[in-house]
């Protein structure tokens, strides 16, 4: 029986999930290639661990509906981006695997005075989860294990820290503490009760939220907020309104995490990505040329499509019985390159706030500027060979690699997290690739090959467990400006085995002969695999 149980747990455990494609947020996937470096990783070490920080267990603390999953996922996204090998272990996954589909844990499972049978079950589940954590840290060169569970008592947390210390693992607790009724209800409304599984379907949302919160109270009657002076902990109060930071042993990584968390918020907002229009001197990076006539026409059409789309989305919410809220404000960011600034002009003329960000300039092509692929192959044949081995990290002489670009984009990523308005980013394809890769967690092997055709606005909608992407067609464009990347640096990139990779499924540019004036409805691509989504929303850890 035990063997069977283990197999079942293993099959459901997050560590066995593999990345499927670039259009699904890969934050919960496991890289198959241990040598694969992260987008913004500055250096690598023999052990695979960075910042002289050793191995760390980040232990989450907090009752359900406190946004723990959102915090875990966002933090993992950021740490992995920096190159810190991070994996999330949701205790709930192990519990569900143990009790089986449709099974329930005993009523007294979370009680302090639980029956011996419940205590045994609890310990079995905990043991399996911790074994996986040690496996990850000790045998798979993992550096950070995020342990997502309620961890409600001080004594439990103390013994946990002691146990990790025995395995030479430093523990950092992160508690999400919420005493603001509004935030609690909002969380309960948004994440939990919308799921049909929970049994509140069709109920008045406020009533359902209250019932849900009461249910937590009955299920987990004892919760002690963190006050343990001898432990390292960060207490995030009311979704980032305040932080308390108990720093027993100085550690750079935890400062970095606090910095990230101070920029995180839980309000929902979307990010749009578009390319800049075509310029008069497409081939030259150094010229920094202005938009061509076609480029200007593109800017106008893109603007119209975006504004119309936002208006339609809002209408759809109202028609679906949602509240009639005003449209969220939209901020626009461009790089300091002329073509991106000019692409933002029509929006600026309509009164939208446009900011220029010098960090968002396109990748520098170095010696490859204006050279044909053939010329590069003959002039720099050795470099081409190296490039094909690792197109993400290799840099041509005087050029930037994608990795260099990712490092320089880091402040942009933090501001992206902080931004509360909807955000439109107008940038070169190379910059879009890297920012998209952050939000959708693409592997460094895929990033250089992501395609952003000009006739699409990419919209990314955040959700607690994973982000969703949507593409909006811009109708009526000159077919010559849509595909590929005429302004791209002619750095030869091996074509992927399975055809061109678009961040999203479906045809990325119209087939020859297709009527391009047709308006394609916005397409939403989300991962609906049951075990990934449905299961999560009912999660009560």
């Amino acid at each position: 029986m035990d063997t069977l149980l283990t197999a079942e747990i293993a099959a459901n455990a997050p560590r066995y999930r593999r990345k499927s494609s670039t259009f699904i947020d890969g934050i919960h996937d496991v890289s198959e290639d241990p040598s694969n470096m992260a987008p913004a990783q500055l250096y690598s070490t023999m052990s695979g661990r960075l910042f002289h920080s050793g191995r760390i267990a980040i232990v989450m603390v907090g009752l359900p509906a406190r946004g723990k999953t959102h915090i875990c996922v966002s933090m993992a996204r950021y740490l992995q981006w920096l190159g810190v090998k991070t994996r999330i272990f949701h205790l709930g996954d192990y519990r569900r695997a143990t009790v089986g589909e449709g099974g329930q844990v005993p009523q007294d499972y979370f009680y302090p005075n639980a029956s011996p049978a419940s205590v045994m079950l609890r310990q079995k589940i905990l043991k399996k989860c911790r074994e996986d954590i040690y496996g990850w840290l000790n045998h798979e060169n993992g550096q950070v294990a995020i342990y997502d569970a309620v961890n409600p008592t001080a004594s439990g947390r103390r013994s946990l820290a002691k146990e990790f210390a025995k395995h030479d693992v430093q523990t950092l607790f992160i508690e999400s503490f919420v005493d603001d009724e509004e935030i609690l209800k909002e969380n309960a409304r948004n994440v939990k009760i919308s799921s049909p599984d929970v049994g509140f379907h069709g109920m008045d949302p406020d009533e359902a939220a209250n019932r849900y919160l009461q249910r937590i109270q009955t299920k987990i009657p004892v919760f002690e907020t963190m006050q343990e002076e001898e432990l390292n902990y960060i207490k995030m109060i009311n979704a980032g309104q305040a932080f308390f930071y108990n720093n027993v042993s100085f550690n750079y990584l935890s400062h970095r995490i606090v910095f990230y968390l101070t920029n995180l918020h839980i309000k929902s907002r979307t990010t749009f990505f578009v390319r800049a229009g075509t310029a008069t001197e497409e081939d030259s990076y150094k010229a920094d040329a202005p938009l061509s006539e076609a480029g200007k026409a593109y800017a106008v059409k893109m603007t119209e499509t975006l504004i119309k789309h936002r208006e339609q989305e809002r209408q759809a919410v109202i028609d679906g019985g949602g509240r009639d809220l005003p449209l969220r404000p939209l901020s626009v960011w461009t790089s300091t390159r002329l073509r991106t600034i000019q692409t933002g002009e029509p929006l600026k003329e309509q009164g939208y706030k446009v900011r220029q960000r010098s960090q968002m300039s396109q990748i520098n092509p170095g010696v490859c500027e204006k050279l044909s692929e053939r010329a590069i192959r003959s002039l720099y044949s050795e470099e081409v060979e190296k490039h094909e081995l690792d197109p993400y990290h290799h840099r041509y002489p005087r050029a930037e690699s994608y990795h260099d670009l990712a490092v320089r984009l880091e402040p942009i990523i933090l501001e992206l997290e902080r931004e509360q308005n909807d955000l439109l980013i107008i940038a070169h394809e190379s910059v879009l690739r890297v920012l998209y890769a952050y939000l959708m967690h693409c592997s460094t092997r895929d990033i250089p090959k992501l395609k952003f055709p000009r006739d699409e606005i990419i919209e990314i909608i955040p959700a607690a467990y994973q982000n969703e992407a949507k593409r909006i067609h811009i109708p009526g464009l000159d077919p010559n400006m849509i595909p590929g990347s005429p302004e791209d640096i002619r750095i030869p990139v091996q074509s992927p085995v399975s055809g061109p990779l678009s961040p999203l499924v479906g045809p990325s540019s119209p087939e020859p002969g297709e009527i391009i004036l047709s308006v394609r409805p916005p397409e939403k691509v989300i991962n609906t695999a049951k075990e990934m989504v449905a299961d999560k929303v009912a999660d009560e850890d």
Binding site: A242, N247, V258, D288, K353, Q359, V407
Partner: protein, 443 residues
């Protein structure tokens, strides 16, 4: 308190922040204020510290401890007047385009903090309080002996007596001191409270990215003694021809410098404790670091590469002046902001160096081998050089610089290798060739 919106977007550019220091004397407030100012100015964010003590000194140059007794009406009046004068000057400075003003004073009572907020919020200036709280008596006395007894207040007095007087002065403040939100009624304030040199930290209601950046920066500061060594690469083949940029190897004399560098470093460090070496990704810096001891850890950073001269890369100044005469002149007029066609400006370099500065602040002994423009930018950070000055600072080849941060500024020592090299310095508005910097030039 809500961010100012115009219905379309948050007006980030219009944000003005006042960092108000809070804490008893000798808690490192001025150190924090000074570091924050330097960091922000270096990022081209107009920042200025207004030290209330300096205003008070005009009125009461060398007061004794009783001056600070809250029962001393005369002292109280003068201290209040000093605070008012400092705030008035700060408001004037905000009117003229200031972005982050730092009010360096004890601000140790709720009433005083309320007074500050009322004035600033009327002018739509966001307030972030930064409190340094410390109960460790040894740390406090060490700070008093180290810094305060050299203060102008005690000029010409016996240091031990001065330390005792200062300790008494603090006791007067302690009588009325109230830590931020100690009573729970200041929860709506934005604040950072650092307790016992970072053992505990409270961060409350951070409202924008700039505030979070300031907080993160302050959390990375440490007070362990350390130094930063800076060197340019050895003379390169392109230096010999007077060409800028490129990715050339070292000249014979450059090679000689690379071989001499370990000796120079050892002389400056004074022991064989290892340094961490950071180079750029260009050949000339890597070659310069080649002979350093094997137990020094070496890292390459793309962010330390030379300023990209775009179309002018690999040209001499004469060629640039001939081919792009307008650009050549434009660069002289505003060298900091001038961006080479298809290349970078000094401002761009500073932005890409920001993560390096953050790493430097949290690290201990580091040796950086990089390039003229990059070293100028890092030097400007430590020495608080203005944008007008920093792009013109002479950084001669074949010279090692040691920078040691101190409480009120940075100490510089230079070590010359005595190996000849061409000059790569050109004065403002001068002819299009390299020349020898004037002796009063700087470094």
């Amino acid at each position: 308190m809500a961010p100012k919106t115009n219905g379309i977007g948050i007006q980030v550019e219009d944000m003005r922040i006042c960092v108000v220091m809070v804490g008893l004397p000798a808690r490192g407030k001025s150190y924090i204020a000074q570091k924050a100012q330097r960091y922000l100015k270096w990022l081209s964010i107009p920042a200025k510290t207004f030290n209330v003590g300096n205003y008070r000194r005009n009125d009461a140059p060398q007061p004794s401890a009783d001056f600070f007794d809250t029962n001393n009406a005369e002292g109280e009046r003068k201290r209040r007047a000093a605070a008012e004068a400092a705030v008035a000057d700060m408001l004037q400075w905000f009117k003229n385009g200031g972005v982050v003003g730092i009010l360096d004073a004890t601000n140790s009572t709720k009433e005083r903090r309320k007074w500050v907020i009322d004035i600033l919020e009327k002018k739509a200036i966001d307030v972030i309080f930064v409190e340094s709280k410390c109960d460790d008596e040894d740390l406090i006395m060490a700070n008093i002996r180290d810094v305060k007894t050299t203060s102008p207040d005690y000029k010409g007095q016996d240091p031990e007596e001065a330390a005792q007087d200062f300790r008494n002065r603090i006791r007067n403040y302690e009588k009325v001191y109230k830590s931020i939100n100690a009573d729970g009624d200041e929860d709506d304030l934005t604040y950072l409270k650092i307790m016992n040199v970072g053992k505990q930290v409270i961060i409350n209601r951070i409202r924008d990215y700039l505030q979070s950046r300031i907080v993160y920066y302050l959390m990375n500061l440490h007070i362990r003694p350390r130094s930063v060594w800076l060197s340019r690469h050895g003379e390169s083949m392109l230096n010999l021809e007077g060409r800028i940029g490129g990715d050339a190897g070292l000249s014979t004399r450059g090679e000689e410098y690379a071989r001499k560098l370990p000796e120079l470093v050892l002389e400056s460090v004074g022991s064989d404790r290892p340094l961490t070496v950071w180079t750029s990704t260009l050949k000339r810096t890597i070659a310069t670091a080649r002979h350093l001891p094997k137990h020094y850890n070496q890292l390459q950073w793309k962010a330390l590469d030379e300023l990209d001269a775009g179309v002018c890369d690999g040209m001499t100044y004469q060629e640039i002046a001939d081919m792009y005469p307008e650009d050549f002149q434009a660069r002289d007029e505003d060298k900091y902001n001038y961006r080479y066609r298809g290349g970078e400006s000094y401002r761009d370099v500073v932005i890409r160096l920001e993560p390096i500065i953050m790493e430097l602040e949290r690290s201990e002994d580091i040796l950086i081998i990089s390039h003229q423009a990059v070293i100028r930018c890092i030097y400007a950070y430590f020495m608080q050089k203005t944008q007008e000055e920093s792009p013109w600072v002479p950084v001669p080849l074949h010279t090692l610089m040691k920078l040691t941060p101190r409480a009120y500024g940075t100490e510089v020592q230079t070590y010359k290798a005595n190996i000849k090299a061409v000059s790569t310095w050109r004065g403002k508005g001068s002819t299009a060739k390299h020349e020898d910097p004037s002796p009063e030039g700087g470094v």
